[in-house]
């Protein structure tokens, strides 16, 4: 009788632990090379639940919002990045490269600003694109430096450098990952939730950094050398557009577009 009680206690403890222990476990193989994204969940604050969203009315999407991002004041001098500590990286650059965290050109346009539709498309459902977004490591720098991606879209991370990098993604809403990569190695990841913006860094080379913005929709654009962005083919309506820069923070604007209209807006960042 005593033994029977003890056995039941042991079995119940096992069951209880099995419940606690496996609550979080993913379905992947051992190691951290999984591409399985983290569990589903309602981490998205503000967006409608996927079951309530309707299909995106492509035929009505005729409007465009585009524009420029400029700097108010004298453009700050472009800083240089000191590359040291790795013979390959040092050899990849004859002169120190520009610091991509603040690139303001002579005409005051700002590069690497992530512009996206913050509000206005929440009620639509968008299919996940089949093409991946590719992040490469070239000359010990991330290419591109700023990028956008849709939740559930494949994120191909690769290295073209003959040195070891590690791609360390640190997000607030998305699962952290960290992969060491040698030349030619590739890892495929996915993000489950919206997050603007999350940082990717290399722990081995501290000057390397990139940012990725994860959205539920494809309306994002990263400004280039001329500071221009374009968010095309939207249905008429009211939208809130946000411009994000890693050093200059964010600016928002409300824009209303009619059927077939193209609106040009400007974001101005001060010092």
């Amino acid at each position: 009788m005593k033994t029977r009680i003890s056995i039941s206690i042991v079995l119940m403890t096992c069951l209880a632990l099995a419940g606690c222990g496996s609550g979080d476990s993913g379905a992947g193989k051992s190691g951290s090379g999984d591409s399985a994204s983290a569990s589903t969940g309602s981490g998205d604050k503000g967006a409608a639940k996927s079951s309530e969203r309707m299909a995106f009315p492509k035929d009505k999407a005729t409007a465009t919002i585009k524009g420029k991002v400029v700097f108010d004041g004298d453009p700050p001098k472009v800083a240089k990045v000191r590359i040291q500590g790795d013979a390959y990286c040092e050899g990849a650059h004859s002169t120190p490269p520009d610091d991509e965290s603040l690139l303001v050109s002579a005409d005051k346009s700002i590069k690497n600003v992530f512009v996206y539709v913050k509000k206005g498309v929440d009620k639509y459902e968008f299919p996940t694109p089949s093409e991946p977004v590719v992040l490469n490591q070239v000359g010990c720098a991330y290419v591109p430096h700023i990028m956008g991606i849709m939740a559930g879209q494949k994120f191909n991370v690769m290295s073209s450098d003959a040195t070891t990098h590690n791609v360390h993604f640190v997000g607030k809403s998305n699962r952290e990952f960290n992969h060491t990569q040698k030349e030619g190695q590739k890892d495929v990841e996915e993000f489950a939730r919206e997050e603007v913006m999350a940082r990717i860094k290399c722990d081995i080379h501290s000057w390397m950094g990139a940012y990725v913005g994860v959205l539920y929709h494809p309306f994002y654009s990263v400004t280039g050398d001329q500071g221009m962005f374009s968010l095309g083919k939207l249905p008429p309506g009211e939208y809130e557009i946000e411009a994000w820069h890693e050093k200059l923070k964010t600016k928002t604007q409300k824009v209303t577009v009619g059927d077939g209209e193209t609106k040009e807006i400007t974001f101005t960042f001060g010092k």
């Binding site: 033994t3 222990g21 051992s30 190691g31 951290s32 952290e176």
Partner: protein, 602 residues
């Protein structure tokens, strides 16, 4: 009708024996210490295979960091394809490597050596050697085995969770092992999400299993010895297990507290080891090593005890210096509690402690040296029979000497500045844990297999296994000392990659040794199949064993092979002398004189 001294529960268990037990109660949920011991034996040997496989993974990477042979056969998480000079090669990332290193140590220490030495042989031998019918608390004993299974399940689950298993070393130093499981915080290492938490929980459970067993052992030895079995007539196996059990009782709760604090930090946002909130990572090291240093003595003392029994039996000669041997065991255990700081000489703790711990650590070499000399004294002018058990015992003595002597280098704090966290330490660890404990376990299995299963193991296969293991073992692990002297750090995935010219240039000359060690390790692993084969074949078709195939003196050989439920038939033997009366003049033509033989003299 029983003349044994025992607790009320023991008497009740005795009554239960009269009912015929079903298969489940007899062999699965058994309270018979012999069955529990055998359960621990098989579980431990199974985990030895897992631990060994993890070790081979480590050696695979270290030998060929530029291109893992057969890398294409493994999943991406193990070996990733890379392009070098237009060719596809397979390399292992640090993520997987640090996990291998962590889990090899954790599995071997917590699931192999401690369960085999204390769980398997502690359970099997103690009542038999002291003349008791079973342990003082048979049901607690059964629970101590079954608690291993939740621990095992938790530990195995860790391999399959998101992020992989724990990867912060078996020593789990914070801050690396600290990070939290919630998203949005910086996680210092893969494996530091669920893996590390499962690891903590698993070891926590195992600790309880250990403590439950130890409480049983201490009580049984103190209270349930047969008539005439005074403390100083107990075999050294029993003495060693007794003192080990005391170490477990005092040390393991400290580990539990360390694990608990780590879990609180990880899961409940505690700050024991977080410097930002006033915590101190060094605290973990002190608490962890306060247990883990006595743990290494837990892992060697039983082996020393078994070796003493085996040496004496096959030397056909009494143990030289029985009482000094007993006192040495006690001294090792006692001193074992005041040397933990030698793991932390370079840690940033107050260097003045480096002086005090150096002195205590040097002194703990002394009782081990005394034991070694006494073993040599036992062998001198003996009449040696080289059975596989004896061969393993001799291997133990010689390998333990090397392991112990290399410890002197580390005890010397200035020398430790150089060799700390290098392969010199790894060499030392493996000489005492494999060269010591594992050979003792092999020897104990060869020796007590007949008593456990009633069959003899094949002696030729045993010799082959022992000799090959000895050769491959030395090739694999002696070389590590050379690597350490050259400065090769521990736990690094690449020493020197000669194809891509990356790594540590000062290790260029010793990199070929990494390859050599991998080949030896593969040989060592392959050799263990001989042992496994021998075990299985002997269980199925081994020659039937008599009561006392080795003509030994201790009480377990007084009964049948295998021993029956209740151990000794209707009467418990009475003990008339010490356990090592070989070559006794009063024994007439025989060269042994069992403890329980009544010569009719006063």
């Amino acid at each position: 009708m029983s003349t044994a001294v025992g607790t009320a529960e023991h008497v009740e268990a005795h009554h239960e024996e009269h009912h015929e037990l079903g298969f489940i109660r007899k062999y699965i949920f058994s309270t018979d210490h012999k069955i529990i011991g055998i359960q621990f034996l098989f579980t431990g040997l199974l985990m030895f295979v897992l631990g060994g496989a993890l070790a081979l993974g480590i050696r695979w990477q270290l030998a060929w960091p530029y291109d893992l042979p057969f890398g294409n056969l493994f999943p991406e998480s193990v070996a990733k394809a890379a392009t070098v000079g237009g060719n596809t090669v397979y390399t292992m990332g640090g993520e997987f490597y640090t996990m291998l290193v962590t889990m090899h140590g954790s599995v071997m220490i917590f699931f192999v050596i401690i369960p085999l030495l204390t769980g398997a042989f502690g359970n099997f031998l103690i009542p038999l050697q002291i003349g008791a019918r079973d342990m003082a608390f048979p049901v607690l004993n059964m629970l101590s085995y079954w608690l291993v299974w939740p621990a095992l399940v938790l530990m195995i689950t860790g391999f399959f969770v998101d992020g992989g298993h724990a990867a912060a070393g078996w020593t789990a130093y914070p801050v690396l092992s600290e990070a939290q499981t919630a998203y949005g915080t910086e996680v210092p290492t893969p494996g530091s999400t669920m893996g590390q938490t499962l690891w903590c929980a698993s070891v926590f459970f195992l600790g309880f299993a250990s403590i439950m067993g130890a409480v049983n052992y201490v009580t049984t030895i103190i209270k349930m010895r047969a008539p005439g079995m005074t403390m100083f007539r107990m075999p050294l196996s029993t003495w060693a297990l007794f003192i080990t059990a005391i170490l477990v009782v005092f040390g393991t709760p400290v580990l539990a507290s360390a694990l608990f604090m780590l879990m609180v930090d990880r899961v409940l946002g505690g700050t024991f080891f977080r410097p930002a909130q006033g915590g101190q990572p060094l605290l973990w090291q002190h608490v962890f090593w306060f247990y883990s240093h006595p743990a290494v003595y837990i892992m060697i003392l039983p082996g020393m005890g078994f070796v003493s029994d085996i040496l004496s039996t096959f030397a056909r000669k009494p143990i030289f210096g029985y009482k000094p041997m007993v006192y040495s065991i006690c001294a090792i255990a006692g001193l074992g509690f005041i040397v933990w700081g030698h793991h932390m000489f370079q840690s940033g703790m107050n260097p003045a402690l480096g002086m005090t711990f150096m002195v205590s650590t040097m002194m703990i070499a002394l009782p081990s040296a005394i034991k070694t000399f006494n073993w040599l004294g036992t062998l001198w002018r003996s009449n040696m029979i080289l059975t596989p058990a004896m061969q393993n015992a001799l291997a133990f003595v010689s390998m333990f000497v090397i392991g112990g002597l290399s410890g002197i280098f580390m005890a010397s704090t200035p020398v430790d500045i150089y060799i700390h966290d290098t392969y010199f330490i790894v060499g030392h660890i493996h000489y005492v844990l494999f060269g010591g404990s594992m050979f003792a376990i092999f020897g104990a299995i060869y020796y007590w297999f007949p008593k456990m299963f009633g069959k003899m193991m094949n002696s030729k296969l045993g010799t082959l296994h022992t000799v090959l293991s000895f050769i491959f073992f030395n090739c694999t692990f002696f070389t590590m000392h050379i690597l350490g002297v050259a400065g090769h750090p521990r736990r690094i995935a690449i020493g020197w990659d000669k194809v891509n010219n990356i790594g540590y240039e000062f290790l260029k000359d010793v990199q070929p040794l990494n390859e050599f060690m991998t080949w030896s390790a593969l040989g060592l692993a392959a050799t263990q199949f001989i042992f496994a084969f021998n075990l299985v074949i002997s269980l199925i078709a081994g020659k039937k064993a008599g009561n006392n195939p080795w003509k030994a003196n201790t009480l377990e050989w007084e009964t049948t092979s295998p021993a029956p439920h209740g151990n000794f038939g209707p009467t418990i033997p009475t003990v008339y002398r010490g356990p090592y009366e070989y070559a006794h003049p009063d024994a007439g033509d025989e060269d042994y004189l069992p403890q329980a033989r009544n010569l009719g003299k006063a």
